[in-house]
């Protein structure tokens, strides 16, 4: 039954990596690297994906879930089309990041860790993006936006949302 479920899903994206590393992962501490590769390929770790990794590495599923949930990098739900990483580091906090968070989450109607219903945005908090001199900072899809005010933050999201709308039409 479990086998069948796996067959219906496509794990080919991590297959090349697993082929090299699955056997040694258990004894050589390779689990975290495998989970990272898997998330890189699929965007998040689904239960099926973790079960499959368990099968291939002979590491117990409970152990895999235990490790994955320990680290904040791992996601267990699909991520929106645009990933917003809002810095909550010290420099950004001192320069008013909580106001930015309020503005962004009220604009999108979601709070930290959630994805908007239209699947456009996911909001994540991070501790320091390393651009403290531009604080408060957020990063959207890898681009950093600095010296934010609630107003400019909303404007940036507005621009992205509008351009998405145009694409769809």
């Amino acid at each position: 039954m479990k086998e069948q479920r796996h067959q219906s899903l496509d794990f080919s994206l991590i297959e090349p990596y697993l082929a090299r590393k699955a056997e040694t992962a258990k004894n050589e501490g390779g689990l975290i690297a495998i989970l990272q590769k898997a998330q890189e390929a699929y965007g998040y770790l689904s239960t099926e994906l973790m079960e499959y990794i368990a099968e291939r590495t002979s590491i117990k599923p409970a152990k895999i879930l235990g490790v994955a949930t320990f680290y904040s990098q791992f996601k267990f739900n699909p991520v929106g089309r645009h990933l917003i990483m809002l810095c909550q580091g010290t420099a950004c906090h001192v320069n008013g990041s909580s106001e930015i968070e309020d503005a962004v989450s009220s604009y999108l109607g979601i709070s930290e860790g959630e994805t908007t219903e239209d699947g456009l945005f996911t909001l994540n908090s991070v501790a320091c993006l390393g651009c403290c001199s531009l604080s408060p900072v957020m990063m959207i899809d890898g681009d950093a936006y600095g010296n934010l005010t609630p107003r400019t933050a909303r404007k940036i999201l507005d621009t992205i949302r509008t351009s998405e709308g145009e694409v769809e039409e």
Binding site: G29, G66, F70, V94, V126, C128, A144
Partner: protein, 592 residues
């Protein structure tokens, strides 16, 4: 002529990639370099020109936007231009002069992706010198230098190396801690991004002294660029024969692997880091046994911070004595430690960025002489050192000397190098709450004091900043803080109460203000403030009224508006939308 663009993470964030593209599109070849430390001036473009006799002169352009790039290109083409406008201001050039760069010696100068630029500046000379010495002599030289760990605790490096050397076992591990968990600090990232070979060379020297042949660098997950640059450097070092078998003909074998962390602050702690390297949940364990006896895979291991390793090659290309005398030679007396320390200067500072200063300099000098003082002419209130594990040093103690002991006396720590400056508008209770919120979330949950103690402390702090604090809260908070400090298993819990304890020590009146007077003097805590409109400045444009989410603002067009305090949720939108600076922050009246 060479054009070099600053492409550290800070430069990239400020748009260096786009600027690079403009130069490339115009047919210019460009090189890259890491972070020079003046992050507030990024993107930075440097033009090196040699005159007839081959002397290189350098022109530095700062805050280079598209327009500036065009002007610089015009100047390069000999056309009429205004590139001069974007030159490095003298005042900013002076910032570098006050520093002593050892760990950052190549950052912002060389191309981190080219090993030949590293060796041209004396790279790998320290390795060659140390390989000619006996391992004991290498450790002795480090002892002379007085180098202490830059990762936080400040433990003498030679001692750790010696312990690992004397530990029996064939297989030993040399580990570099690049987890850099302190939010608001980025020294280690800048070093790896800007000068990866210095870390590799430092690890090589340490490994040789300890008799270790395996190296691992544990890099924080959020540092993708550092991982890329490190891997390039490792590849080049292998090709050049600095890594692998029989290094430089000495019979010594060593190689380094990179492991990416996965986002957990506690993994900066040595034993948790090892657990994470082994693919487990990153939980710390009781010491002893220390990693030097039983570390990675139960083998003797030595863990040092990035900056510690990066300082080592300098000690061997110069001398241990010279490193120990840096403070003296910079005219500083009375320092109780040696060498230099890199700080990430951030917060309410005018010239934020990375600075490296001789240990023994005062906090005041770093903030005012190098960092240019406080933003917007505000008053300096305190500086947080050591991030969530550290404490604040108040303005009245600004003459404290930066060394491990003097800082410990104030209740703060040297830490890994985060230096967050706070001004009169920063609420210290909120700062304590902020750090505790961080450590509470990051507690791994293994020991009770840390898991539950930090949670209870956070609840009290939330109550105080929320306006529901009670008189006895201060005492309970103090008691809890001391219990968590004493009862926790690892450094995370043992240091987590520090921000609370130091703010209680120096800013108890702010706690009392919140609890007794129901007032936030810094006007930062939302439940204590409300927004008011200055009738004299208000032009009645109606923008704030339109933006207010709770319809708390009323008024006719062209007439001064007013805010109904009872409906105001202090979201600040009105203040942001006002073009006439008519919205002020006031104290919310509390009904007891």
């Amino acid at each position: 002529m060479r054009i070099v663009i600053g492409k550290g993470s800070c430069g990239v964030a400020a748009g260096a990639g786009k600027i690079e593209g403009i130069f490339k599109a115009e047919g210019f070849e460009t090189g890259i370099t890491g972070c020079i430390g003046m992050c507030y001036l990024e993107p930075i473009v440097e033009v090196y020109d040699s005159d007839v006799s081959g002397n290189e002169a350098k022109k530095t352009y700062v805050n280079v936007n598209e327009k500036a790039a065009r002007e610089i290109i015009n100047s390069l083409l000999g056309k009429k231009n205004q590139a001069g406008k974007y030159g490095l201001p003298e005042e900013d050039a002076a910032i570098l002069a006050g520093q002593k760069r050892i760990a950052l010696r190549n950052c912002g100068i060389i191309n981190p992706e080219k090993i030949e630029e590293y060796t041209a500046r004396g790279g790998y000379a320290g390795l060659k010198r140390s390989l000619a010495l006996a391992p004991e002599a290498v450790i002795e030289e480090v002892k002379t230098s007085g180098l202490a760990g830059r990762g936080g605790a400040g433990f003498p490096t030679w001692f750790k190396w010696n312990a690992a050397k004397n530990s029996s076992g064939e297989e030993k591990y040399t580990i570099c801690n690049a987890d850099e968990g302190d939010p608001g600090a980025f020294m280690d990232r800048a070093i790896i991004e800007g000068d990866p070979h210095s870390v590799i060379e430092g690890m090589l020297i340490g490994a040789y002294a300890m008799g270790s042949s395996h190296g691992v660098v544990y890099v924080r997950a959020e540092y993708p660029l550092a991982i890329v640059r490190l891997n390039i450097a490792l590849e080049q070092a292998r090709d050049a024969g600095y890594l692998g078998k029989n290094i430089a003909g000495s019979g010594f074998d060593f190689d380094i692997r990179v492991k990416a962390g996965a986002g957990a602050f506690v993994c900066g702690e040595e034993t948790a880091l090892i657990a994470s390297l082994e693919g487990e949940r990153g939980m710390p364990r009781l010491k002893p046994p220390f990693p030097a006896q039983k570390g990675f895979w139960q083998k003797p291991s030595n863990i040092n911070n990035v900056e510690t390793y990066a300082s080592v090659p300098w000690i061997f290309s110069h001398s241990g004595r010279e490193f120990a005398d840096i403070a003296k030679n910079s005219g500083i007396t009375g320092a109780q430690a040696t060498g230099t320390k890199v700080f990430a200067l951030t917060g309410k500072i005018r010239k934020g960025g990375l600075v490296e200063v001789p240990i023994g300099m005062t906090v005041r000098k770093v903030i005012f002489d190098i960092g240019g003082g406080i933003k917007n002419g505000k008053a300096f209130k305190a500086v947080q050192l050591g991030g969530p594990s550290g404490g604040c040093v108040p303005a009245e103690l600004a003459d404290t000397v930066i060394d491990y002991q003097s800082l410990a006396k104030t209740g703060a720590i040297m830490g890994s190098g985060g230096m967050v400056v706070m001004d009169e508008d920063t609420c210290m209770v909120d700062v304590a709450r902020f750090f505790l919120d961080f450590t509470c979330k990051e507690s791994c949950g293994k020991c009770t004091h840390c898991r539950i103690g930090t949670k209870r402390m956070l609840e009290i702090l939330n109550r105080i900043v929320g306006g529901y604090g009670e008189e006895e809260d201060i005492e309970i908070l103090e008691q809890l803080a001391n219990q968590v400090k004493e009862g926790s298993l690892c450094g995370l819990g043992q240091t987590a109460p520090n921000p609370v304890l130091t703010t209680l020590r120096y800013f108890k009146h702010e706690y009392r203000d919140h609890i007794v007077n129901r007032k936030c003097t810094a006007k930062q805590c939302k439940n204590f403030i409300c927004y008011e409109i200055d009738a004299k400045k208000c032009k009645g444009c109606g923008l704030c009224k339109k933006d207010c989410p709770t319809a708390a603002i009323s008024g006719e067009m062209k007439e001064p508006h007013t805010i109904k305090t009872a409906d105001c949720i202090a979201c600040r939108r009105c203040k942001d939308s006002c073009k006439f600076n008519a919205v002020k922050v006031g104290d919310r009246k509390w009904i007891q």
